[in-house]
Symmetry: C2
Subunit: 121 residues, 2 copies
DNA sequence: TAGATACTGAACCATATGGTTCAGTATACC
DNA sequence: GGTATACTGAACCATATGGTTCAGTATCTA
């Protein structure tokens, strides 16, 4: 993939792009869970779930701690502040852009009407 | 990858996980642009940029229209409403979860103090 | 009509993703 | 000590990602 700089920002959006991982986050929002718990809940092998948790951990969305033979997963420190901010900013940009386009359309309508009048003259 | 259901929701988070694509969205927020414009701005081959635009288009974040030999890209209809909503909901979950943990910590502190008193008795 | 411009598609490369199985290792329990 | 449980790592598979080059095709423009 030849990705040069893979920021935590990039990583968290990537982490959120999978339904299973979003589900895991929601689950951990309710209670901490072991790999076995999560694998059971999402009907997947331990190895598979371990990978998902790894992706979430890389993104800072989850932290884990192994005590005895069980690894407990809990929500990490990253609380999607920047991500929320980016999306909000984008939404404003989007609104502004479409307002602008609306104005162009209005302008065209106005001109058309004027042309119509001219033709009829 | 054996992905069964790749929703537009998944796709837009995936689309946002790349800095170049986020940049393209910001750019298109300011003005429509051709593939050549974007490729120039982000120092990339036309083919490379075409692929990024394809990903954004798949996600509904961009629409394109080819007139003559130029393909013009503009912001699509998807305005990240659901995505913003998911993140907001998560942030609330996160807050609630950490408040809960704080309470547990408080509880432990309280107990410890009580134990301390007991020992001193 | 010739040449420049704009895109497009196929092929290739390296790595990531989303899974699996299989073969461990470490810990808990009887 | 022996067995069950919980995780882990390696290897594998198919597809996606993020690029590239190269060889077109289509459209402007002089």
């Amino acid at each position: 993939m030849v990705q040069y700089t893979r920021t935590a920002f990039d990583a968290s959006f990537a982490a959120l792009s999978d339904a299973t991982r979003r589900g895991v986050l929601e689950q951990l929002g309710r209670a901490d869970a072991s790999i076995t718990d999560l694998a059971g809940k999402f009907r997947m092998t331990l190895t598979g779930m371990k990978k998902h948790v790894g992706v979430l951990e890389q993104a800072g969305l989850v932290t884990t701690e192994k005590v005895g033979r069980v690894r407990t997963c809990r929500l990490g420190l990253r609380r999607l502040e920047e991500e929320a901010a980016w999306i909000e900013r984008y939404r404003q940009l989007w609104e502004a852009r479409f307002d602008e386009l609306d104005q162009v359309v209005e302008e065209l309508k106005r001109k058309e009407k004027a042309d119509g009048r001219k033709k009829r003259e």
